[in-house]
Symmetry: C2
């Protein structure tokens, strides 16, 4: 008989998937009475599908090669006779991680892209109907993601731990995180380049050169642009958070296994995720019925916030009950507070992000005011607030990390460093367990955004007000969720960073055939001192990797946009669309195709460098240098992601503030098309690749350097033991120099 | 009798100061035959003096308080009977460090600001005369700085080591670095805010609102603006590099003393600095006589580069001779190569910076091409190249660090970690020893810049071509020197970071009364493992400090500029200067005063946070947390300084490229006042606070967190021993929470 925890950890995600299916069916069952709505919507949906399928097709060969590589590495590096089993299971875990991510992305995208027309149509029945339709569509993504992640981890844990001893099953599982990373890296980077290149390209020829409106169907790039919104905000965000969730769960299991914790503690992270998924199933029920109040927008916002808070409160109660039943008093308290700290981090980060990116607060208003001076002032002010916005989020993460560590080290057996790190892992699980509800809220954004676009394109003026309100709320959640995703990535990366270190040490003592005592452990940790030049060099190379990666993703957007611009100009010239419309229609798919293939090509260099540089450095400087590199990447990448996402969000909303509310300076009002508005647009356009390409791409970067390292940990451990002295490559160079 | 090394180390800087005095006298002795030239020049010179004196007056009380604090801390924390002597010497060292920096800045500024009129006048005699005049003025700053730094360190070393045993004399000396830091922090931050606020403010009302030219004497902000150029490029750069030089020399002495190295090795860093100063005295002689060739500009550039290379080659020869005479073969080789690595780093960094910021190379041209699309494209492209530009510099620094470490660990006794770190210290000394020549080249920039301005203001059209060429070369050196200053700050900070760790360990074993064996040392280093949450938390807080500091310096510029704008508008209104000129003259000093006082007020928050946060964190999390913080500040601050300086330089030159060469796109030429030029100007203005305020301010930040920590190391060590367990503050909070 399965233990109760595991039965729940299987049953609840299945219920989650069932609810997602039910919600999908009920939204997709709506039949809009306006043909045009569905037609345009299907163009976007098909475009998104085409994009995802091309991504997956590109990932497939890389994935197959990596599966074989992982299999081979484990086969060679683990001792007989378990090497056969280990290598097979490791390769399988990797494949499952990737397939799960791809599946969650596909299901969610399928439903959200098709739901815009339904939402637009339901808006005729009022705010309540429109809100519940678009939110239901969002829950399909949120619930599938959380359920699939939990299911994949639970099944792997159950299966692997039944055939392998502790901690080998955890080591065999670890590649699941790399699988999720790989997909997420692809979608975030290539998708991020795609989405902004399509946006820029379509705008440059459409709005600027031809002078036609933003969502004009005569623009050959317009569908590519709409597809991009879904790719970035929906598939990108989902694959990113899915990855963090997998990373945190796999990391917590690995740490628990290597630490030799009790089986109740081993299963604790899965249990917290399960209980929070239950509370998510409760929370999403809140968003239904009529929306009433003097401001429909704030009433709708209230309902969505209520869904989040309901989830958190129910989760806190369930976790508290479980903890106090399953553990002694002080241990239960430590576990409960750690979980709570994770959830509080989520709330604080969401609010901090809103404060810095929404125009009801001073920062965005100040940026807008700077627009009366010049575009340069807008840029400097936005950048400066972006830098500042990282500070409270970092301090919150640090507080959660420190407090949960101290609690763990005091009360979670075996206490000390291991209890402390496990406490932090619990806090991270607490943060990530909210992925289901947060992604539901986030995915509602692109649905309402596209619904707004469809309403505009099809001239449904009567529901415009409702879809505009929905869109505005969606934008807020899209921005704040970015903060959540970054904080999640940061904590996930830190957990796996420690996991990687333990994994390498575990491998090294295995190879040496010595027992892993506290003394051995302390000795190995002592080698990772910041005084060691390999740590310093590794960290600086890590920062250089973050800079290189950021630079190349940023510059790719402009190049890809340039190709789209050429194509749109060509279509305008050759087909005379502007003159002959609607007899002559643009070739939307060609535009999508061009941006997609350029985005995938641009992915190559930053993507490969993220995967290859850690391994190369690890082979050159040994595990110590690699630990330095990962540390540098996290320390530089996490704040940079916050800076870029929040500065971008703030510029975006400074422009919107001028458009919607207008600036009043010395009695004069400046609105759309005024000089300050033009200045604010400069900031908005700069912010696009900041917040939608490079910023989000840093999330998978800081995780993938960990996941790739953990997968190749057996190799790194082996190489480090062959040449434990110092810096092999530099040694060789210098021996040659001094011989000359 | 003094050893030969020390006699040289006293005599050579005195000769250096004498040459500086001679050069100053010969430049200041030139009497321009045009009254107007001297009049305007004196306004600038007096303005600069006023600014510096106000800075120094503000520093004075802070300095006095800190002197007393340092005295008290050392008196309380060092054991009797040496505490009386230690505390007095430490306080004296601190004061000397600050006074030396202030003196070098004052002397240099005095001469450079007064030399613009002389250069403009000498330009009538041709390029050769103009070049040698402005370069001579520059050498006054360069030679005084290097000579004073070396003299201060040598005298302190001789005096302190004669009354205190090793390593106490080095510990008593260490506050000299904090003294230099304090002045540099003030001048870089307050001066950086001043210079760009004056620039922005004067431009907004002058160029934009009133439509008068940039250097128009009717603009009340014009002198403030010119003063700002000198403050930033001259005093700011000098105090920054002086600080790095002092930090590196003091750091090398401290390490050598704590490591218990031989007295020849202890004096090695002073000796290398002395020999390189000799070669600098030779190098500066190259720039004299006629300038001939088909391009005067490139011939002049060639002479200046020749001065640099002559210095490097002579220095390499002298150091080689000394090393092979004073040390055994392999040790001498290691020392020589390490020194050479430092100098090669200087050359590489200068070239990398030029590549990314000068318009003869692709990056700036590509940014300029983006200006045909939009201002946003200019910003994104420049930012992207800024990120990329940090990569080769980081890799060069890392290579120098790694190679010198390996060499040192193999061949410099006692070998191992200590030999390795000492090897890296030698490389850093090699880099910094070039300060004299590099600052001479840098200071020549503002002289020729101001000369150009004076020529424009006084209508000396006939020499315009010469001063324009000089100015263009000066701009190149100003930009490339920034790269040198950043790399120097980075290496200096790393050396002192290690120095701080050794100092704390030394203090802790003293307090405990145990001997400092290799085992003890390894044990303490082992505590600094990146696995420890205090290191992780400290590092993240360090990054947050860098972000906060950057944000607040950036945003201060806009605010200070706003106040100047109000003042200029007020003067235009009340005095009707534009209409009544030249009867009615602007009140230049009031404008200078307003910007100065605002800049000094704006300095408070970032300045204090840089000094106080390390101490607070050290007291809260102990020495381990503080080590994490310093690590985080260096890792985040060093690349960010490169990003901001180089992006700013690239934007600046993209604009200049369009102005000077023009953009030719599809046969159409775009020059000044074209749409692309306007877009490029947006980038240029954004770049101003990037490259002249925040970027340069990060240099003293990454050093001051080290110097303040090293000064308060005895206190941090004491506190860490009282509560060695973990995280005192978080402990208290959590004990309270769990009690509730």
């Amino acid at each position: 008989m399965l233990p109760l925890e595991l039965m729940l950890a299987i049953a609840i995600p299945i219920i989650g998937l069932a609810l997602a299916g039910y919600n999908a069916a009920s939204v997709l069952g709506i039949k809009p009475g306006k043909r045009e709505l569905t037609d345009i919507n299907m163009l976007i949906a098909e475009g998104a599908k085409t994009f995802l399928m091309r991504e997956y097709k590109t990932i497939l060969p890389t994935g197959v090669v990596l599966t074989v590589l992982i299999w081979a590495a484990y086969y060679v590096l683990f001792p007989k006779p378990i090497n056969g089993l280990m290598s097979g299971l490791a390769a399988l875990a990797f494949a499952l991680g990737a397939i799960g991510s791809a599946a969650a992305g596909y299901i969610g995208m399928y439903v959200t892209t098709r739901s815009a027309a339904k939402t637009a149509w339901m808006a005729r029945n009022g705010m309540g109907a429109a809100l519940s339709t678009s939110f239901k569509a969002g829950t399909v993504m949120g619930l599938s993601l959380a359920s699939i992640a939990l299911l994949v981890i639970t099944i792997l844990y159950m299966a692997y731990s039944s055939v392998l001893p502790t901690p080998l099953w955890a080591e065999a599982m670890a590649p699941v995180a790399f699988g999720a990373s790989l997909v997420s890296l692809f979608i975030r980077v290539a998708g991020g380049i795609y989405t902004k290149a399509a946006d820029w390209g379509a705008d440059i020829v459409g709005k600027v050169e031809a002078g036609i409106p933003e969502d004009d169907p005569r623009n050959p790039g317009v569908i590519a642009d709409n597809v991009g919104d879904n790719v970035g905000d929906c598939a990108g965000m989902a694959s990113d958070v899915y990855e963090s969730f997998i990373v945190v769960l796999a990391g917590a299991l690995l740490l628990a296994a290597v630490f030799g914790l009790s089986s109740t503690l081993i299963r604790l992270s899965v249990m917290i995720a399960t209980l929070t998924l239950i509370s998510t199933l409760v929370g999403v029920q809140v968003v239904r019925g009529e929306v009433k109040g003097k401001s429909l927008a704030s009433a709708a916002m209230g309902k969505l916030n209520m869904a989040l808070y309901t989830t958190i409160i129910v989760a806190a109660i369930l976790v508290a009950i479980y903890a106090f039943v399953a553990f002694p008093l002080m241990e239960a308290t430590a576990i409960f507070i750690s979980d709570l700290l994770g959830m509080i981090t989520a709330i604080v980060v969401l609010y901090v992000t809103e404060y810095f990116t929404h125009y009801t607060f001073p920062p965005v208003r100040n940026i807008a005011t700077q627009a009366t001076l010049s575009a340069s002032n807008v840029i400097v002010a936005g950048y400066s607030y972006g830098l500042l916005s990282a500070v409270p989020t970092i301090l919150m993460v640090v507080t959660a990390l420190g407090a949960s560590y101290v609690l763990g080290s005091m009360y979670i057996p075996p206490g000390g460093v291991r209890g402390g790190i496990f406490g932090t892992a619990i806090a991270s699980v607490g943060l990530l367990s909210l992925a289901g509800i947060v992604i539901s809220l986030d995915s509602y954004g692109p649905v309402s955004d596209n619904a707004g676009g469809l309403v505009e394109m099809t001239g449904m003026e009567d529901v415009r007000e409702i879809t505009d309100s929905l869109d505005a709320i969606g934008n807020t959640f899209k921005a704040t969720t970015k903060g959540y995703a970054i904080a999640s990535a940061g904590l996930a990366a830190l957990i796996l960073f420690i996991g990687f270190i333990y994994e390498v040490v575990e491998r090294m003592v295995q190879i040496k055939g010595i027992p892993l005592t506290i003394q051995t452990l302390t000795g190995y940790f002592g080698e990772l001192t910041v005084v060691d030049p390999r740590i310093i060099i590794g960290a600086l190379v890590g920062v250089a990797l973050v800079y290189f990666f950021s630079s190349s993703t940023l510059s790719s957007v402009g190049k890809a946009a340039g190709e789209l611009v050429e194509e749109i100009r060509r279509q305008f010239r050759s087909k005379k669309i502007l003159e002959l419309w609607p007899q002559e229609k643009p070739d939307y798919n060609r535009a999508i195709d061009i941006v997609t293939s350029h985005a995938l090509r641009s992915f190559l260099i930053p993507g490969l460098s993220a995967v290859i540089i850690p391994i190369v450095l690890g082979l050159a400087l040994g595990w110590i240098g690699l630990v330095g590199l990962i540390f540098g990447v996290i320390i530089a990448g996490f704040p940079r992601a916050l800076l870029m996402a929040n500065a971008g969000g703030a510029w975006d909303n400074a422009k919107k503030y001028i458009e919607i509310e207008g600036l009043v300076i010395n009695g004069q009002r400046f609105g759309k098309k005024s000089e300050p508005h033009k200045n604010a647009v400069v900031g908005d356009v700069v912010g696009d690749p900041f917040k939608d390409t490079t910023g989000p791409s840093l999330n998978p970067l800081i995780k993938v350097v960990n996941t790739v390292s953990i997968v190749f940990a057996p190799l790194i451990a082996y190489v480090s033991l062959i040449n434990p002295a110092a810096i092999p490559i530099i040694h060789i160079i210098l021996v040659v120099i001094s011989a000359l």
